[in-house]
Amino acid sequence: MNECQTCRDGMIEALYGELAPAGKAAFERHLDACPECRTEYAALGETLKLMDKRERVDPGPGFWNGYWDRLSRRMLWEKTEEGRRPSLAARISRVFSGLPRWAYQTAGAAALLIVGILIGSRLIGPSGPAPAGTVAAVSVPAQSGAVVQAGNFVERSKVLLLGLVNYDPATEDAYALDLGRKKAVSRGLATEAAAIRKGLNEPGQRRLRELVANLEVIMMQIANLESGQDVDGIELIKQGVDRGGIFLKIDLDRMARDARGGSRPASPAGAASPVKKSQA
């Protein structure tokens, strides 16, 4: 390796004061003797001086003061998302959702046949009628996967909506709102709502279906808000939520599901009983 190459190899360390003392004297000697290396070294030093003048844009105190709150909210969302992982029933139903119609018909007929044989064997067979406990267990209507999914969707939409309606542009900065994230989550919820609605086709599920449809529209409105603060758009959504009595409908739905003994999605820590500021 020639001297110039050795010198070049040491330039970066020399510029940042990290050149080992052992090599420093030889490095400086070569610079004194070699105009090419001296020029190169000076040019690199000049570049670093120029780079010292670089300024990073400070997002401001509003951003930094609200950083922890926004991070906490994201953690809350991620926890909610984890809790939303599809249940065994949902996974099974997803597997079966791709089957052709005739497969369901055949399976339905087979199930009816089996039930018929079982009933027949109980009534006619030597063991007699089934024990009361067994009959009672069968007669309690379990909530369908669609209802559980819808309940989960409603709860998550409520948390998001509360964040939006409680936002006051007069006293809070745009960072506290974290609109970008809300828009992204709303988009996901709106897509989810369309699929959930299709599953709610029983006569007793009309109200829940309507609530999901209302929330779907609101989620789409949030997803379509302008980037930045979009105070007017948020105000319109707030008015729509108020006019439609959305929070009342959500609470009524939760009460109805609780009364039916349906499983309520676990509220994430910190969002156990969120309230609208005006109701607090």
Partner: protein, 197 residues
Amino acid sequence: MDENAIIEGMARGDQRAFHELVERFKKKVYYLALDMAGNPVDAEDISQEVFLKVYRSFATFRKGAKLSSWLYRITYNASIDHLRRKGAAPEAVADELIESSIGSDAGLPRRGAADPGAALESSQLQDRIARALEKVSPQEKAVFLLRHYDDLMLKDIASCLGLSIGSVKSYLFRAVHKLQKELGTTALISKAETSHE
């Protein structure tokens, strides 16, 4: 709360320790992410991902290691992943950076308000620097940023990024050379040298 107390608290799952960690390192993490990703929205997203990862996988933190080195490494990896996912063309990213620095008063020097000429000059310089940084690869950029602005020693950068010292030196040399070429400092120096001689 000193760094050891934070580490011990985190190992116990103490929420206050995590809060302290975030408060202490949020700026370093955010700014590295901002320099790497090039726009504030992505930078905040990346920085949050970093802290979420720290929170979830603190068990993987090696005892005796430096917390800041670990955070830099996670930030670097998260930024590289982000750039890969986005398939971001460096030009587009840098344009956002330039726009954000020109559009905001926050990064401009205070004297600019009283002296429009100086403000313009400063703004043009920032523009040049940002464009020069566009030409540097993400790896070279990370090494340069950590050495030049975060003042990490070369061996610490090697440890942060999981590289050999030789690679760090090489990335840094290439980065500074590219910046030199883009900023035209060679010409300036050459002229000065010629006139001096």
